[in-house]
């Protein structure tokens, strides 16, 4: 091959790669837009004037910009209460679940622990076999947890899947660390508190995110076990609003009598209950990727 031909072929090659690169960038931009557009549309609607909404003129940019929908939401004690209650619930559940996961994962990494195999089987079985909705319901009834706010906290306080992620991470901590601590006469409590917990902060952050998102987004437990509206988490309240359940109650409130404002209100409420998560997750991206990867490691 002469030098010239080689040169042109290389040029064509790199030209092709460049085109390929831009095609890929283009496709990725489209994908990102598909992910974002529904949120942008929602935001635009929540900020738009009633007249424009009724005339179906709002696409991706607010028309007749105003914050009425948000002020209505913020003035309504019902939403603020549900928001506060869900935030409190999320905080309690996350802390409790983190503690439970740590308590469960830590002892299981010791090969000296007698009956470890049996305990592992005991734990794993619960991942594959579930008694079912009705038996769970009857248990809650039996434990007097129906209509009790504790039902939103206790039954979900340990996710075996998340515990396994943590256990995988604990396995990765060099054994020599704990062995030397054991030699120095440290108790297992001390080893857990002074060595393992400080080392696993990133994983604990990931689990905290998983648990918090699970609680913040969950509504089925409240739907099944909770009749008392005072303890409805935000998502269940939102579900009822979107489906116009309790129309009478809602219609009497300010705003819901006008169809346009009702639409922007719904958009504002959806936005309102999404924002906390949207603010938190990007900062934890590095960690949750590690968490997902750890979860995929067998044993």
């Amino acid at each position: 091959m002469s030098k010239e031909v080689e040169e042109t072929s290389r040029e064509i090659h790199s030209f092709k790669t460049k085109i390929g690169d831009w095609v890929i960038v283009f496709v990725c931009v489209i994908i990102a837009l598909i992910c974002l557009l529904p949120m942008i549309n929602l935001l635009a609607r929540s900020l738009s004037g009633t007249d424009y909404l009724v005339k179906h003129e709002v696409y991706l940019w607010p028309k007749g910009l105003n914050f009425d929908a948000y002020t209505t939401v913020l003035k309504d004690a019902k939403y603020i209460k549900a928001f506060g209650w869900t935030a409190l619930l999320t905080l309690i559940c996350t802390l409790l679940s983190l503690a439970m996961s740590t308590l469960c994962a830590f002892p299981l990494i010791f090969s000296q622990l007698k009956g470890r195999k049996l305990i592992n089987v005991f734990i794993t079985v619960t991942m594959f076999f579930n008694a079912g909705t009705i038996p769970n319901y009857l248990l809650m009834q039996r434990l007097h947890l129906l209509d009790n706010p504790l039902v939103l906290i206790i039954p979900g306080c340990l996710s075996v899947y998340n515990m396994i992620i943590l256990r995988s991470f604990f396995y990765g901590v060099p054994e020599s660390l704990r062995e030397s601590a054991e030699m120095d006469g440290a108790s297992y409590f001390t080893i857990l508190l002074k060595i393992y917990i400080p080392l696993s902060k990133p994983v604990l952050a990931t689990l905290a995110l998983f648990y918090a998102v699970g609680r913040w987004n969950g509504y089925s437990d409240a739907l099944m076990y909770m009749k008392n509206k005072d303890f409805y988490p935000l998502q269940l309240l939102l579900y009822n609003i979107l489906n116009n359940i309790n129309q009478v109650e809602v219609a009497t409130q300010e705003g819901f009598s006008q169809p346009g404002l009702q639409e922007s209100l719904k958009a504002a409420i959806v936005m309102f209950s999404t924002i906390p998560i949207l603010c938190i997750y990007p900062g934890l991206q590095k960690y949750f990727i590690q968490g997902v990867t750890l979860g995929a490691v067998k044993e």
């Binding site: 990725c28 992910c35 509504y219 990867t293 995929a296």
Partner: protein, 321 residues
């Protein structure tokens, strides 16, 4: 000498265990103490409800304890027979399988393709931004996604329908026509999960040795050839394990997604086992029937998982259990 030694060890063995256990516990009691709470939790909230599964074989009565309830007819299988004669349950069973299969056929390849695409992106910052955006839908609850879907798909006032009508076409009933609902359900599922599910493939890709790519470049392989001959084989084990998990879960039904998205107009296509159990059991108080349905589902699920696992081992891939 040897004989004496042997008797000695026998004697110590006789005395041994109790003293050993005492010593062992004195050293390791803390570990068991730590495990106590989680194990009690699992026993109470995961194992003890299994006792109530008996209701599936009994005539339920609110005033009697489970043990006191009389057995159901047909050797206790009355409720299972009833379930399979119940048209609504048959619909729910059919829909569960259909929706899960469609989820696999359409939803399974998307994160793989997305991961391959991301892997080809050269601009680091751009790549990270796309990833962050693609993970976002995973963090939204199904109620919120339903809210978004309403804003997008409502005939006349939804964004997509406004656009369709502007083009002069008739509005599409995405959410209240059975067939369209299935498409919307699958589409929203893909939208919600593809980014998140790509994480695991990206991790697998990053585990592939860069030397392989370098060697391929030296041999003059282009982008497609590298993707086809290095990246895809490299993530094959991950793909297979996840596919098995998905297939093993073919009768599984999550509650949040179908319940949030369904409405009365599309129930014939949208009712799945979990929502059937909720409506007929907790709302309709047919406890025995719905417990039987739930038990059927759990058992079939376990069988499928074990089969899928066995099959994967047979194929020479690592299992999941």
């Amino acid at each position: 000498m040897i004989k004496v030694n042997r008797t000695e060890t026998l004697e110590t063995r006789k005395k041994g265990p109790t003293r050993d256990i005492g010593l062992y516990l004195r050293k390791y009691w803390q570990l068991y103490l730590l495990l106590l709470l989680p194990l009690i939790y699992l026993a109470v909230f995961k194992y003890s409800p299994m006792y109530y599964v008996l209701i599936a074989f009994k005539k339920y009565s609110i005033v009697q304890s489970v043990a006191e309830m009389p057995w159901a007819k047909n050797y206790g299988f009355e409720h299972f027979i009833k379930a399979f004669r119940n048209k609504d349950f048959i619909y729910a069973l059919r829909n569960t399988i259909t929706l899960n299969l469609l989820d696999i056929i359409i939803g399974f390849p998307v994160p793989i393709i997305f991961a391959l695409l991301l892997n080809e992106l050269r601009f680091k910052f751009f790549k990270k931004s796309v990833q962050t955006i693609a993970y976002m839908p995973h963090f939204l609850s199904w109620v919120i996604i339903y809210g978004l879907a309403l804003q997008l798909f409502t005939p006349s006032s939804g964004l997509v329908n406004m656009f369709i009508q502007k083009l002069g076409l008739p509005a599409v009933h995405f959410l209240d026509d059975g067939n369209n609902w299935v498409k919307t359900y699958i589409g929203l599922g893909v939208w919600q999960s593809f980014g998140w599910n790509s994480i695991i493939y990206l991790a697998a890709i990053s585990g592939i040795s860069p030397e392989l790519y370098e060697a391929a470049s030296v041999d003059g392989a282009n982008r497609w050839q590298k993707m086809w001959h290095i990246t895809l084989p490299g993530i094959r084990p991950t793909i297979i394990v996840l596919l098995i998990l998905a297939l093993g879960n073919i009768l599984g039904s999550n509650f949040d997604r179908p319940f949030a998205l369904q409405n009365n107009l599309v129930l014939q296509n949208a009712e799945v086992i979990s929502t059937f159990v909720y409506k007929n059991g907790i709302k309709g108080l047919q406890f025995s029937l719905t417990t039987a349905v739930g038990l059927f589902q759990s058992i079939v699920n376990v069988i499928f998982l074990v089969l899928a696992n066995w099959f994967s081992r047979k194929m020479g891939e690592r299992g999941i259990m």
